[in-house]
Every structure is written in structure tokens, then in C-alpha cells.
Symmetry: C2
Subunit: 233 residues, 2 copies
């Protein structure tokens, strides 16, 4: 009997925003896997740290700091191969995923490589979008509102169209794209409706009107736009 590959969302950052199911699985895991970036500590692991059993084996999948796809794909190939050895030996592997595994996470790269050979279970998690809208007390979906989730890496036209066509918008992965996205939002006259949230639910979190946001933004920050101020009344 092969082991099961578990993709487990650990939520946006605060350890108590993981689900009860995720906590139970992490506590019972003998083998864990998670991504790291260029050798830096894993954020997903940090969220789960207090629940990892002593003596658990840990597989860090180290991704290179480059926008090129091939080096990352090679890292996922190597990580999937290491995970497969445990699964073949009948051991479950719990993959820790920031937020939700199916929402812009690295787990999908492992899933794609292993799903035909092994049983897979996915535990959904709280996304950064849900966490940010909670912090901002900003309802995103009310009645017939359409919500768009847009990565900041999109070209200008795609961002402009996406922002214009929806009642509520979340723009993710800001990082170096922040000045460009901010100018686009401003040109659409929506800065007054936009909130910037960085590092949601951890100690260094920031929640600010977009107009008051600093000039630089981390990758783990996002912009929420809600066009109707009281659409639910």
C-alpha cells in the first residue's frame, strides 16, 4: 500500500487560522514537505512550526530566485521524486501550503507530478484574500457582485479590463509590480475605494488605504477594491 499525498492549507499566517483538520494532520505527520525560496526559511513551515512532531522528517523544496520557469520545474521534479520515495514505501507525506493549496500555491506543481501514481487528498485553507477582507472589514461579495482575482504580474491591459469589469477586485503578488498597479488603479479613479494589506494576520501586518501605502510593497501584499460602499443595504 502506497502512502497518500496530502496538500494541506495552513492559512494566511496566524497559526490559529489553520483549520482543525490541518492541525490534526500536521501533528500526526511523520514526513512533511514545504517550499523554500533560495534557502530562506519557509513561511508555510513557520505557520505550522508549533505543531510539527519531534523527529518528523522534513523535505524542503528549494526554489531558485528567478522568474525563469525551467529552474523551478527542475526543483519541483527533484522534490516530487523525494516525496515519491516515501509514498512508495507506504508513508503519507503532508505538504504544507500557505493559504489554500489550490489558490496560487506551489502544491499544484507536486500534484501535477504525482496525481497519476498516488492517492491525493487536499485540505482547503483560508486564503490571503479572505484574511485581508476580514482585516479591512470589507465585504467582497454581496448579492450579485462579481469578484475578480488578478495577479499583479498581468500586463496593463488585462489588469485594467479586469479592474473595470468587476464590483470587487483582489490584486495579488504585488512586489515589484506595485508602482505600476497603483498607477493603473489611480488612472481608473479607484484609489479612494482601494485598501492595501501586507503580511495579513502576522506581526508585521499592515492595513492601509491605498493612498497611504508606502512606495514599495512586498510580494505578500495585495490590493482590495470594492466599488460600492454599502451595496448590501
Amino acid at each position: 500500500m502506497s502512502g497518500t499525498l496530502w496538500g494541506v492549507g495552513v492559512g494566511p499566517g496566524a497559526p490559529d487560522l489553520m483549520t482543525l483538520r490541518a492541525a490534526r494532520l500536521i501533528e500526526g505527520a511523520r514526513v512533511l514537505a514545504y517550499p523554500t525560496l533560495a534557502g530562506a526559511p519557509s513561511f508555510a513551515r513557520a505557520i505550522a512550526a508549533g505543531r510539527i512532531a519531534e523527529g518528523a522528517e522534513e523535505i524542503a523544496i528549494d526554489l531558485p530566485m528567478t522568474p525563469a520557469r525551467e529552474p523551478a520545474q527542475a526543483a519541483y521534479d527533484a522534490g516530487a521524486a523525494r516525496i515519491a520515495l516515501h509514498l512508495e514505501a507506504g508513508r503519507d507525506v503532508v505538504c504544507l501550503c500557505e493559504g489554500d493549496p489550490m489558490f496560487y500555491g506551489s502544491f499544484m506543481y507536486l500534484l501535477a507530478r504525482l496525481r497519476t501514481r498516488f492517492a491525493v487528498e487536499v485540505v482547503p485553507g483560508v486564503t490571503s484574500v479572505a484574511a485581508a477582507s476580514a482585516l479591512a472589514r470589507l465585504p467582497l461579495g454581496a448579492r450579485e457582485a462579481r469578484i475578480a482575482v488578478l495577479p499583479a504580474t498581468l500586463p496593463d491591459d488585462a489588469l485594467r479590463e479586469g479592474i473595470a469589469a468587476h464590483e470587487a477586485v483582489a490584486i495579488l503578488k504585488l512586489g515589484r509590480h506595485f508602482p505600476r498597479v497603483r498607477a493603473l488603479v489611480d488612472a481608473l479613479g479607484l484609489t479612494g475605494r482601494a485598501t492595501w494589506v501586507a503580511h495579513a494576520t502576522v506581526a508585521r501586518q499592515q492595513v492601509l488605504p491605498l493612498a497611504e501605502a508606502p512606495l514599495e510593497a512586498p510580494y505578500f501584499s495585495l490590493i482590495l477594491i470594492a466599488k460600492e460602499s454599502d451595496p448590501w443595504l
Copy 2:
């Protein structure tokens, strides 16, 4: 000192898909509130039932079964007034919300009525969209994918445009709109890319290719469409 109004997401249905924070708050709550529909049992309460303390006071906000807005608004007015009495007396009130409080939830109607007078805290939860994509093993957001969340109550043109313009789409609140939405998805040639999920994570859940879905769909069901089959490789 007034009490705090808590909007607490209890997740998509399985009780262990609520967060540790939600579980702790529900266990400690002396006053709880939740919506009911035309006197039927509350789904949010059912998810939390095992954690509600004996002797806790419960406020059911009973919503009428009608698409008209005024009767629902009157029910929220009355519910907010009952909650306000507790808050004024210094008692916290924990409002139970299916999924995430800021994602098409009834909590926003209470928030709108009470936010200027009382402290409000919101605990994000796992949405039905995250739960459904986990069950279907269907990554929604990969790299530069744009995700649209569309209520099935939208008119045909808005649905058609939204479905066509995004790499990944979630269509919520199907209910009586299911046959119409299904025909729209089919006319766009996307039935083969679409998965139907009903009652995600509870006993009567169903996960099927849209082509194999039954002719009628409950309100708590959704369609996921992912246009690229392996976008992450």
C-alpha cells in the same frame, strides 16, 4: 464598556474545516447569532453545534423565503437590534457565518448596521470555492491565471462575458438558475472543462463532471471551470 461583534467564518460544512480561532471563540461564546431561512435549521449553527456551550444564548435571525429585499432588510434590522442590546450590556456576540463572513455572507448586513456603534472583529473562514477545488483536485489559480467568482443570479450577458474572460471561473448560488447556466457553459464549449460540486465537505456532497450532473441543483452548489488542463507544468 460595550461588547465586541464577532463575525466568525465556520467554513464550508465539515466541522473540522473551521479554524482553530473560530473553534475557540465559539466554545467561549455566551451569546451567538446566526441566520435561518423561513424557520429551517441554520446550516452555520449545525456546523458549529458540537462546540456551542450549554446555556449559551442564541439569536436566530429568520430570513423570509422571498427574493424581495425589504422583508430581509426588516429581519436584519430586528436581528441587529437584538444583538445591539447584548453589545450595549457589555456582552460579546459571536455571529456564525457559513464559509467566510466577507464572501457572500449574511454577516455583512449586520456589519453594515452595527459597525459605527460597536467594535467589530472578523475571523476569516474557508470558502465553498476553496473546498470545492480541493475536492475536485482542481487548481484554480496558477501563475498568471485570472479567477472570476460569478453569482448565477447574474443576467446571461454578464455570465457569458465573465466565463469567457477568465482562465478559472467559479459560478455560485446555482439553485433554480442551474439549467440556464449549464446551457451558457455548454454554448461556450466549456462543459468538458467544468466540474459541479454540491454540498461540499458534508455527508451528501457530490462532485461530478458538469456533463454528468443531475438536472436540478441546490443553492449550495457551484460550477468550477478551469480552462487550462495543466497550466502549471
